[in-house]
Amino acid sequence: MIPSPFLDQCRLQADTRRQFLGWGMGGLGAMFLNSALAAPAKPGASALQIKRDPTTPLAPLPPPFAPKARRVIYLHTGGSPSQLELFDYKPELIKYNGKDCPEALLKGKRFAFITGVPKLMGAMYPFHRSGKSGAWMSDRLPHLEKHVDDLCIINSMRTDQFNHAPAQLLVQTGDPRIGHASLGSWVTYGLGSQNQNLPGYIVMISSSSTTANAGKPLWGSGFLPSVYQGVQCRAAGEPVLYLDNPKGVSRAQRREVLDAVDEINRGTFRQLGNPETVARIAQYEMAYRMQLEASDAMDITREPPQVLARYGAEPGKTSYANNCLVARRLAERGVRFIQLYHWGWDSHGTPVDQGLNVGLVDCCHATDQATAALLTDLKSKGLLEDTLVVWGGEFGRTPMQENRGGQEMKYIGRDHHPAAFSMWLAGAGIKGGMTHGATDDLGYDVVRDPVEVRDLHATMLYLLGFDYRSFSYPYQGLDQKLTGVKPARIVSDLLA
């Protein structure tokens, strides 16, 4: 063994008396390799056990109390769509369109780009009441509108972050700093996965070129064991890079290589006892099993043409529509947490693709039909009953038109606005056909039923069968929780 202070430290951090006694010497003998294609769960590690088996970190576990939701599909609209152009109807704001923003709203406030006195700006698109519930929506999401009676629209979301990366981290990990466990990691840590041949937590991004502001920490496992991090899958080509065997390598040869690598890893584990080594062995094995199942799950050419048309999916492309269709296929196969990212909603009005008049329209166009098709499919297959669907960005947009540098801008846009934004939930345990919370007449501040990001997280955990107060992981002397240390609450009004 090469002496290394880092490895020593890993070992010291990893060892607990219980591990030392429990795992003992050589107890890891034939732990993984006896099954080329594992059954959904090994008999010894069945879901009937509560005890966590470190060698099968993704074995399904029942939640602490009866759940409403069994899986989550989270549609993150990165950049943050304008709630004032989509869900939050403000006739008063339209009346004061073009007037100077009142001093009271600016005093002591800090904006990302707005300086001086900006002008108020009403919605750019007409609103109308829709569905049986009569929820207000603009004309930008005509397909989603058909499902409005299944949606619970929250117009009173609040955050305390006004820059993309920290705000995205807050909605995805419960903390604006890098290093905390993401939603999907918490969920797979708490519940394992129903399908042992696919990752429990899959991430898909609409575009191969644009990346998240906050990067991969958005689906990182933070302080949780790294086996619970999100696995990013691609819409075109191999779902996971280098998953397929290289040309001329047979599956049997791959097995031999893996056996050799596992042998070395087991040796390392015996020497150092770091649980991360177990995660690595488990991931090699999962990749081997995924070679068979992932390609099938991600292959949308297996869908009939009318289904592809309904989503607007085109096999071979990298698109939100394709990802939505894959999301449904993954949900059917028991993947626990499916995370989609679609960037481009950051409508400042600086370049043309960030204008409310162009970029927002494009984003709506690229996503609306597929989101609606996903809801239709989930509903007809009975999956919506126990799948929680979440849609939203990381903050809202200002009721004022952005005037970057005090100038009038080429395209029309709004600045970042943490004080109020809209999200919607649908599916498992959610009361459909309702709009929750309200902002003031100008859409500036929440005046009724505010929902903090941590409240949303507490509610999601509740639907999955967890009490956010007790679902924790010890790290750096604190029992870390998704909802953090500030008081959160389960938003009872959203529950069916």
Partner: protein, 318 residues
């Protein structure tokens, strides 16, 4: 020197004690007159006045107390009493603090609490202090309406009209782990046998219950009526069954019809039909059925729907 002359420089003991008592009583009386809050606590201490108690279903208990709890009691509660003010019970709230009462029944204008919570957050006297979440306009309205209506401990929720409904926290279900474990024990042998024979299909619904779920969807057509029959010994505890894509047929109707606890059944893409649906009608616990891709017709599903069962599927298309 006689005893009499020696005593002249001193008061008799009884008089001294009486004077001390008089001064103390006067002091207390003045304090009581000046500070009604103090008067109340003295009277309550002497059992001359009953400690006011809020009724359980009163407006105070349901609407006001949770607001104090959320916003105030971290500084004005059992652990800390800034300005000697506590807001963690009706009696304490009405008693007030070091500077007098903060709630004057029926008098919104002179209730200091009202004034403090409506000041802009930047004001030094604003409550909660800057940095803490201020009360929302709805929350302030609730307190204003309550004080305006007499700050009563007993007035009912419905008696105060126009109070905005505030969101309340959800109670996490209570459970009796020991009881669940006893219930599990009765079927443990069967469960063990079944999980050996059908690994991974059977699971407890949650860590605190003996209710079980059966998910055979991963087995595909290989899982047939005979396999489902093997689960007969545990039917009393099955609350959710997923048979999507399995090989079961209407032959399983009688078995499924004998599952009193069944809440959700998924039959998508199976060769089941109206006979099975008809058998489900008497199941009182059943809440949802998924029948996409089965032979069930709209007519047979109607009877389930009429019973309040949610149907997911394409029955409409057939």
């Amino acid at each position: 020197m006689s005893d009499n002359t020696r005593a002249t420089g001193y008061l008799p003991a009884w008089l001294y004690l009486a004077l001390v008592a008089l001064v103390t009583t006067l002091g207390i009386a003045i304090a009581m007159a000046l500070r009604p809050a103090f008067a109340n606590s003295v009277l309550e201490f002497l059992h001359l006045q009953a400690t006011p108690q809020a009724a359980r279903n009163s407006f105070y208990a349901v609407r006001v107390a949770p607001l104090f709890e959320n916003h105030c009691i971290s500084c004005h509660g059992e652990r800390r009493q800034k300005a000697a003010l506590r807001l963690d019970s009706y009696a304490f709230a009405l008693r007030g603090g070091r500077h007098g009462t903060v709630i004057r029944a029926g008098d919104i204008k002179h209730s200091e609490l009202m004034e403090r919570i409506t000041l802009p957050p930047s004001d030094d006297r604003a409550m909660p202090p800057e940095g803490k979440t201020p009360l929302s306009p709805d929350e302030i309205k609730v307190i204003r309406l309550w004080i305006g209506a007499g700050a009563s401990p007993s007035i009912k929720v419905a008696a105060i009209k126009g109070a905005p409904r505030l969101v309340r926290d959800v109670a996490i279900p209570n459970f009796d782990l020991a009881q669940a474990m006893r219930q599990r024990a009765t079927l443990a042998a069967e469960v063990d046998r079944l999980s050996r024979r059908y690994p991974g299909l059977l699971s407890y619904q949650s860590r605190n219950s003996a209710d079980m779920e059966l998910d055979a969807s991963s087995r595909g057509a290989a899982f047939g009526d005979a396999d489902l029959k093997a689960f007969a010994p545990v039917t009393s505890r099955l609350v959710r069954i997923d048979l999507s894509g399995t090989g079961i047929t209407d032959a399983s109707a009688s078995l499924l019809a004998a599952m009193p606890a069944l809440k959700a059944l998924r039959l998508a893409n199976t060769k089941t039909g109206d006979n099975l649906v008809a058998a489900l009608v008497p199941l009182k616990s059943l809440k949802s059925l998924t029948e996409t891709g089965t032979g069930a017709t709209q007519a047979s599903l109607a009877s389930l729907r009429a019973r309040g069962v949610t149907i997911y599927g394409d029955g409409d298309a057939k």
